[in-house]
Amino acid sequence: MILSVENLWMYYGQVQALHDVSVYADEGEIVAVIGLNGAGKTTLLKTIMGQEKPASGKISFKGTSILGKSTNDIVKEGIALVPEGRQVFATLSVYDNLMAGAYIRNDNKEIQQDIEKYCKRFPILGERLNQRAGYMSGGEQQMLALARALMSRPKIMLLDEPSLGLAPVIIKEVYEIIEEIRKEGTTIFLVEQNAKRALSVSDRAYILVNGEITMSEKSETLLNNDAVRRAYLGV
C-alpha cells in the first residue's frame, strides 16, 4: 500500500466536507474516486497534500504518516498533485513551468534530459518551450500540467479532474497518457466526474457522495452496476 487514508473527517468551518473517508492505493495501481460537483473530491486531494487540515483521520505514504507535514515536504516524499483547472504558471514560459516541477531535484543534467524527453512525448511543449504557458489552450495546458508533475519524478500522482473542460479527443489523449505513466511505474490516484473514462482506465474505484464513500469496488464491477450507470453514466 503506497498511499492510505483512514477515517478522514474534514470541515470547512461548520460545513462537513469529508465524512469518515478511507481510501488506499497499491503500488502500480490506477485508483479512481468518482463524485459529482461538491462531493469533496478536491478536498480529499488537498487534504492528502497538506493544503487543508483534517479534523481527524490518518494519512500515510509508504507506511509512514504524512499528516501534519507541509505541502512541500509531502511533494519531496514523492507525491505530486495535478490540481483542478491545471494551474500552470501562466506568466512563466513552458520551460520555466517544467523547471518549477523539478524544484525538489538537484540533478541538473537529468532534469534537462527529462525536459527533452517530455518535449518529445508532448510535441506541443517542445514547440512552445519559450512561450508563456498562459497562451496555450486548455488541452495543451493539461499536457503541461502532467509533464510538470512528472518532472518531480513522483512515486504517486494525484490527478484532480484531468478531463475537466476538455474536448473528447483531448480527453482520450489525456487518459492514454495516464495509462502510459502507470506503465512507467507511477501509481495513479485520480478523482473525476467523468465516470466513464475514469472507470475504464482504473483498476479500482470509489464512489464519493456528499463527502462519504458509498461504494468501493473493482472498476469493471462499477461500470456494470445499475445504480452507478444511472447516477454517473447517464444510462
Binding site: 497534500m49 493544503q51 507541509s70 505541502t71 512541500n72 511533494v75 519531496k76 505530486a80 498533485l81 490540481p83 494551474q87 504558471f89 501562466a90 506568466t91 512563466l92 520555466d96 523547471m99 518549477a100 516541477g101 524544484y103 525538489i104 510538470r148 518531480s152
Partner: protein, 294 residues
Amino acid sequence: MNPDLIYFFQTLLNGLAVGSMYSMIAVGYSMVYCLLNRVNFAHGDLYVFGTFISFSMMQIFPIPAAILFACLLAGLIGMTIERTVYRPVRDAFRLVPMISALGAALVLRTIAQIVWGTEALAFPSLLPGGYLEIAGLKLFYKNFVIIGISLFIVIGLTCFMRYTKLGRATQCIVESLSTASLMGIPINRIIPLIYALGGFFGVVGGVAYSSYYGVVSMDMGIWGTIKAWAAVILGGVGTTYGAFIGGLILGLAETFASGYLSSAYKEAVGYIVIIAILMLKPTGLLGKKRIEKV
C-alpha cells in the same frame, strides 16, 4: 549648442536620475506587491527607517559599512514584518493585512520620531560633486552614479529572478502560493527573503535619494510608498524591469513637467501619465499580471 536644447538635455538627465531613484525604491516593492496583491503600507516607513539608521551609523562607522548595515537591518525588519504582520493574516479578508501593515508602519515611524525627532535632518552628500561640461551641457557626476547604481540593481535582480533556482521559485510564489507549494517549493522559507530584498533595496534607494537631495525626513515614507506604487502600476506588476521602467517614466514626466510648466504640476503630471497608460494598457506597460483593484 542651442540653449533650448541644452535645457532639454539637462532636464532629461535630471529626470533619468530622479526616475532611477524611484526605480530603486520600486523594484523591491514590486515583488512584495505581487506577493500580497495589494499595497504594502509598511514599505515606505521601512525604507526611511533604514535610511535614518544609515545616517546614524555613518557617524560611527565607515560609510560603506554603515550603508550595508542599514540595508541588512532593513532586510531583517522586512522579514520580521512578514512574520508578525502578514503571515498570521495571510488568508484573511484583504483589508486585514493592509491594516496590520499600517500598524507596523506606525511602530517604525514612532521609533524613528523618538530617536531622530520630527524635523528633517541634513544628510551627507555621498555622491561625487562637480560636473563635466560638454558644449554648454553640464553632466553632473551624481546623476550618472545614481543611474548606474539603479541599472546595476535592476540587471542584477532580473538575472537573479531568471537564472537562479531561488529566483525561479520566487516567480512561482509570486504567481500562485498554493501551486508553488505543490512544486515542493518551501514557500514559508522563501517569502521572508522576498520581504528582505524589498527592505534591502528600498534602503539603497532611500540612501541614494537622501544623498541626492541632502535631506532625510520621515515624510519620505508616505511619499516613497506612493511613488513606488505608481512606478509598479505604470511599468506593470510582476517584473523587475517593469518597476524600473515605471520609475524612469514617472521621474521623467515629473521632471519635465516642473521644468517646462511649473513645479506645481509635478505630482499631477505623474498621475496623469499613470491614468493614460492604464487606460491604454490595463496591465501596465510591461505587466504580466493584471492589477487588482485595491
